[in-house]
């Protein structure tokens, strides 16, 4: 086949996939309808926020980032963590893992879509996003860490789109994928996954005026927690896929991912402990934010219930994944995954972003509580992300299992 034919055939292939994605059982339609409804509520809230101003959020000049940036940070972790499927498959030649890595990459795509949306809704002037385009706008690269984040996030998105698209297309054509067309990108994506989360950590840790964030441990902590949420999500996702599509997924990948989690949950708790030691043993103004987070300060306690919930969730999850019973009962494993996911969501979200602003740089304590508008938009974006993921997995599966192939397609016409 010549290159020009691919140029025509590939879009056609994508079109077919998309069309197919709209077929499904009543369960699928219900699921998508519910998600659409939530996404629309979010879209409506965002339209109001844009028209009436960000005063509709709970943010202020003291706490100038909130739920959106918290979710953005968490989403980057999820995207990076998804690559945890790729590492065992390609670096350690785990063959069972090989077959499901694609699902991890699809998750990464959906997660990045979520992240980009959270950035958009946090902007006062999203229509000026073109100011970020190198050449036409004024892209402050390499000085601003935010421009690095723009580069690495979009790069990660493209890399994963390429890998997934290429592998699926080759399966569709019934041909063996050519290594030079995807392997380098797979290795690149591993390195890149680390970079997206490190750069996101540098966004915060590079700010000298915010002692709570200004810690060299931030990036390693981000990576450790990413390798909790990624595997936790995928473990559950694989079971859902197995249940509803009958794709034969063995126990191997689940076992591998659980072993990864066993290490990362502990690592994450250990690093949290180290941070707490430094803060409290040293004391002084560097500890104020941590004190506020865990115990409240000057009569303000908004974050205390959040963070203790997170600690409880993380510790319970850590105990659960190590219990011998969890190996036998998949229910326990799923519970551990859910707890770990929620625990990190709080810790890397509200528990990380808000204390950076409380107390403020002039040591004023102004609290932040997200408003209904923020919750609606947040829920809407997650719903949209799940839609992307559902559609992506749904179109990938028939190709993976060989139901959709060029030969069949030709026969149908």
């Amino acid at each position: 086949m010549t290159a020009t034919r691919h140029l025509l055939d590939y879009p056609r292939f994508l079109g077919r996939l998309l069309w197919m994605s709209t077929d499904g059982s009543w369960r699928f339609y219900t699921w998508m309808t519910v998600l659409t409804a939530i996404a629309l509520v979010g879209a409506n809230a965002w339209a109001h926020q844009l028209a009436e101003g960000m005063a509709l959020t709970g943010m202020s000049d003291h706490v100038s980032w909130g739920l959106y940036i918290a979710n953005f940070t968490f989403g980057v972790g999820l995207a990076a963590g998804a690559v945890m499927m790729v590492i065992p498959a390609y670096l350690y030649h785990d063959h069972e893992m090989h077959d499901v890595t694609l699902i991890g990459e699809l998750l990464a795509i959906a997660a990045i879509a979520i992240c980009l949306l959270f950035i958009v809704v946090d902007m006062g002037h999203p229509e000026r996003a073109w100011h970020l385009l190198p050449g036409i706008g004024r892209f402050n690269w390499p000085v601003s860490m935010l421009t690095w984040d723009v580069v690495v996030l979009n790069g990660y998105l493209l890399i994963n789109l390429h890998i997934c698209g290429y592998l699926l297309y080759m399966r569709f054509l019934g041909r063996k994928p050519r290594k030079q067309w995807y392997l380098p990108f797979v290795f690149l994506s591993i390195f890149w996954a680390i970079s997206i989360h490190s750069v996101t950590a540098f966004l915060y840790s590079g700010l000298g005026g915010r002692p709570f964030w200004n810690s060299a441990l931030l990036a390693p902590r981000f990576i450790a927690s990413a390798f909790i949420t990624g595997p936790a999500f995928v473990i559950v996702l694989l079971q859902v896929i197995r249940r509803f599509t009958g794709l034969p997924i063995g126990e191997g990948p689940l076992r591998t991912l659980t072993s990864v989690m066993r290490v990362t949950v502990l690592l994450n708790l250990f690093m949290l402990g180290s941070e707490l030691f430094t803060a409290f043993y040293t004391g002084g103004s560097h500890a104020t934010a941590v004190r506020y987070l865990f115990f409240g300060s000057h009569g303000h306690h908004a974050l205390v219930p959040w963070i203790w919930t997170a600690v409880a969730l993380n510790i319970t999850a850590a105990v659960l994944v190590h219990l011998p019973a969890t190996r036998r009962h998949v229910g326990l494993l799923n519970l551990a995954c859910a707890l770990a996911f929620a625990g990190v969501w709080i810790e890397k979200g509200m528990g990380l972003i808000i204390p950076g602003f409380v107390p403020s740089t002039l040591h004023e304590v102004v609290e932040y509580v997200p408003t209904l508008t923020e919750w609606k938009i947040t829920a809407g974006i997650w719903a949209f992300g799940l839609m992307v993921l559902t559609v992506a997995v749904k179109v990938a599966l028939p190709v993976l299992s060989g139901q959709l192939a060029a030969s069949h397609a030709a026969a149908r016409h």
Binding site: T22, D23, T36, L40, V41, A43, N44, A47, H48, L50, A51, E52, G53, M54, A55, T57, M59, S60, D61, H62, S64, W65, I119, D122, M123, G124, H125, P126, E127, R128, A129, H131, L132, G137, R138, F139, N140, V143, S144, M145, L146, T147, V150, L203, G206, L207, G208, G209, R210, S285, T288, G356, F357, P359, S360, T361, L362, H363, E364
Partner: protein
């Protein structure tokens, strides 16, 4: 078979139409928002890339807009930095009594939103014997000066190594040759990264459209300073550049009843600010962060 297929297709079509309609409905509030957004504004170039003619046209447009909205003639200038001028500011903590008249003057001068009482200056009431901001309080509400306290007004320090400038992803904020850090309100994307980066709480975001009664509007305006800001962008103290670049003093200095504030050209050996720097033991806030402020504090006694 083909019957079922076509029924499916019809259903999908209906679903898609319904979805599109619902989406349009959800986004309806945006019509109001997009009415305010003209094509010219959307395509406006970065401040530094505007030609003289383009700037002149923008100023005419802004004045007409102000006339329409407030029914008043305002003068919006785009004064350039002067050759051989580099501004500095100093504040005498021994005489400041914490009356907050500077903050009030800033509020008036810079056309701040009335309902929020915004100002670029925050005055902290500090514990005698401590420079730890943690013991400061910006929300004091009693006669001043209070026993055992001193007062620390904080505003933008126009840092020479400004974290806010570094972090801006689109160069919407930069340092001018006379040392003032400015924001292009028409270029800022409203990400508030600079607000997170500033160690002195000097930046403000326009969470909503600022509202000022027409009779209270300050008509003497600068393009890069106190013109009424749009919603959704960041703003900050500019050492009143619409005044100081025309040889006048900042509004906060003029309002100060104790003469605690000293302003001037750091390059002029005869300026009062130079006298203070040479004769007083001055210090800057959070020097350890390496921001190199142009705002100095000193004690007399």
């Amino acid at each position: 078979m083909s019957d079922i297929l076509s029924r499916r297709t019809v259903m999908k079509g209906a679903g898609a139409t319904l979805g599109a309609a619902a989406f349009a409905h959800a986004m309806a509030p945006l019509t109001e928002w997009s009415k305010d957004l003209t094509v010219d504004e959307f395509l406006q170039k970065h401040y530094k890339e505007l030609t003289r003619d383009e700037m002149a046209r923008i100023l005419v447009h802004l004045k007409a807009e102000a006339k329409q909205k407030y029914g008043r003639d305002v003068d919006i200038k785009d004064l350039p930095p002067q050759e051989g001028v580099s501004f500095g500011y100093a504040l005498n903590l021994s005489v400041c009594i914490g009356c907050r008249r500077c903050a009030e003057a800033c509020h008036q001068e810079n056309n701040h939103d009335r309902s929020t009482g915004n100002s670029y200056i925050r005055v902290l009431e500090m514990q005698q014997g401590s420079l730890d901001l943690e013991h400061g309080n910006a929300n004091y509400d009693h006669p001043v000066p209070a026993e055992g306290k001193y007062y620390l007004p904080v505003q933008c320090h126009q840092c020479d190594n400004a974290p806010c400038v570094k972090v801006c992803p689109v160069q919407a904020t930069w340092k001018e040759p006379d040392g003032i850090v400015v924001v292009d309100y028409n270029w800022c994307i409203g990400c508030r990264y600079c607000e997170a980066a500033c160690p002195y709480h000097a930046r403000r975001f326009n969470w909503t459209k600022p509202e000022i009664p027409p009779e209270e509007l300050n008509p003497d305006q600068g393009y890069l300073s106190n013109r009424v800001r749009p919603q959704g962008v960041v703003e900050k103290c500019t050492f009143c550049l619409h005044r100081t670049r025309a040889g006048r003093l900042p509004a906060c200095l003029e309002a100060c009843p104790t003469g605690a504030r000293v302003f001037g050209n750091l390059l002029d050996p005869k300026s009062p600010i130079r006298w203070v720097l040479e004769n007083k033991r001055v210090f800057v806030l959070k020097e350890e962060l390496g921001t190199r402020p142009r705002f100095f504090y000193f004690f007399d006694k």
